[in-house]
């Protein structure tokens, strides 16, 4: 039982960064813009979040700083892709290269500095709760709030006019444009949202999970987030599932070692998220069930009215 609680707790705690980033990327892709720059934006967000929180002595401002910095990179991507009709794959790669470089170049003076961070909510009445008490005690407010983004985005995408606009812009921009949807504005907005979420994801790492700035601290989580969007077939709830799965695999890998029972070799565990993503992607197209959601029709394609 204790072991179960431990595994669930560590899963919950190690998945928010991937969750936030993949939710952001999901909205961006739903709007038709593929952004491979998640890793770079997360790094910039992690640095900006840490530095702003430290200088302003406010965690809230830290989060704003993370969103602003990563959002700026996302806007650059949006400008290149929407207005300059650039290739989205290349532009996204450029964002990742630039973001990685900038964060480690500008982050030098902050290496090893300590600053503010979100602490866990344990040590209060929460500990006493039956069953979930010990589980929640290890979490922090930021990580838990991330979960709220899932229903919010489900509502946004499924129940509002904005969600309809976003889906239309990503599915068939020409038809959407004809119906009066401001495709360019929607795409800008979605990409910006994706950037802000990636920034928050980075800030989760530098302000909550492993507080402090460390070069390359995302360790490839941005790329995993992109994979998880596909795994989730562009649906927020399944993105949560994907992020939790990622966290679980991470937790299990060390749990097996620490307890000395190795049910699945570590290499297979490592490979599993990627293998599963390939499997899901193939399954989705074979089944062709609309229930599963599907690839946004115009993903990665620039749109302009004149042509």
């Amino acid at each position: 039982m204790d072991d179960l609680i431990f595994i669930v707790a560590i899963t919950l705690k190690s998945s928010p960064a991937v969750l936030l980033a993949s939710l952001g990327e999901l909205i961006s892709e739903r709007g038709g813009i593929l952004n491979l720059g998640v890793e770079g934006m997360m790094l910039v967000g992690a640095l900006a979040g840490f530095v702003t929180a430290r200088q302003s002595a406010s965690l809230a401002l830290g989060l704003c700083g993370a969103m602003a910095a990563a959002g700026l990179l996302a806007l650059l991507h949006a400008f290149l892709c929407v207005h300059l009709r650039a290739d989205q794959v290349i532009s996204g790669l450029a964002v990742t290269i630039l973001g990685t470089g900038l964060s480690s170049f500008l982050g030098r003076p902050f290496i090893g500095q300590t600053g503010l961070h979100f602490s866990s909510i344990g040590g209060t009445w929460i500990d006493g709760l039956p069953l979930i008490g010990p589980l929640l005690a290890q979490q922090n407010l930021f990580g838990l709030l991330c979960l709220a983004a899932v229903p919010a985005l489900m509502y946004l995408l499924g129940r509002t006019w904005l969600g309809l606009y976003i889906r239309a812009a990503g599915q068939d921009p020409a038809a959407a444009d004809a119906a009066g949807v401001p495709v360019a504005a929607i795409r800008y907005g979605c990409t910006l949202f994706g950037g802000c979420m990636a920034g928050l994801a980075g800030a989760y790492l530098s302000l909550a999970y492993t507080p402090g700035w460390k070069e390359g601290m995302t360790g490839g989580q941005g790329w995993i987030a992109i994979a998880m969007v596909i795994f989730a077939t562009w649906h927020p709830l399944r993105a949560l599932l994907g992020a939790l799965l990622f966290g679980l695999l991470n937790a299990l890998q060390f749990y097996f070692q620490a307890t000395g029972i190795e049910l699945i070799p570590a290499y297979i565990l490592h490979m599993l998220p990627y293998l599963l993503t390939v499997g899901v992607l193939v399954l989705v197209t074979v089944l062709e069930k609309p229930v599963l959601g599907s690839v946004p029709g115009a993903l990665g394609k620039p749109f302009s009215r004149e042509e």
Binding site: D2, D3, F6, I10, S14, A17, S104, I111, G112, T114, S119, S120, L205, Y209, T210, P211, G212, K214, E215, G216, M217, G219, Q221, N250, A251, Q253, F254, Y255, Q257, A258, T259, G260, A266
Partner: protein, 353 residues
Amino acid sequence: MKKLAVCLVSLMILSAGLAMAASQDFQVGFVYVSPVGNAGWSWAHDQGRLAVAKMPGVKTAYVEAVAEGQDAERVILNMARKGYNLIFTTSYGYMDPTLKVARKFPHTVFMHCSGFKTAKNMGNYFGRMYQARYLTGMVAGAMTKSRIIGYVAAFPIPEVIRGINAFTLGVQRMNPAAQVRVVWTKTWYDPATEKEAAKSLLDVGADVLTQHQDSPAVQEAAQEKGVYSIGYNSDMSKFAPQAHLVAAVWHWGPFYREMVTQVRRGTWKPKAYWYGLKKGIVDISPMAKTVPAAVQQKVMAVRQAISDGKLKIFAGPLSDQAGKVRLTAGQALTDKQLLGMTWFVKGVVGSTQ
């Protein structure tokens, strides 16, 4: 064609000579495998470089984040061409690249860290970190209540395994019933992964954590959970003020200065330099106040004994994980055996795979 080649080669030699003559300073180069960072392996070496830079008439430079393999060979080659007099390469994977370059530049001195190959103008060096590990193990053994100590380690290579073994022997000196549980991360530096590994150890009941990793994430995990931690590479108390008990640390400075002096005087010899506590290349940081005075005294006494050569850590009787006797009383492991150590001593829980 042949003439052209001869011309080119002589030009190359000439310009190399010019480059050497151009600078009067004694130039020392360092090659690091990771960014210098804040507390890790490369940082410790860079502290040593800074100590060398203070010597009069000496100029230092470094290149960081150099991948092992072809990139390393090019960087080392470049330093040699530029007329650097002494080049330190600080990662195991630099061994063959260093050797290749050393053969081409017989007048430059090369020092490779953590390997075993030498040449006429190439030596290797390392520190007996296991001696410091033994001392920190004593502290851990004295402080654990649960008798489970967690060890987050990077790769199952002899250097790391040796450290785990010495640490465990230290633990057992103070607390014979305690066990050391090992989790491999398969990365030298990845804060998030290291933290998850640390947490899995906390879950199985570890109440002291230590690490063979380059980020302070393990320390942070201990601090958050309210248990103890033991640092590595440098004093990590600023990352975990309450948790941090002591750290096994590197002090490369004195050794690097000694090498520079020897090379300048012409007394340097191409051999394996494997210094320990005695020369101060490894040591422990000041212990936290939470460590009882009696324990501190005991640790310092053992430190003196090791330093004086009175105490050998890997001495018989010694049995491995499975209980098989590896060493009978009166025997001790040779340096060669230590360098190739691939088995865990009794008391370690984990696999060497």
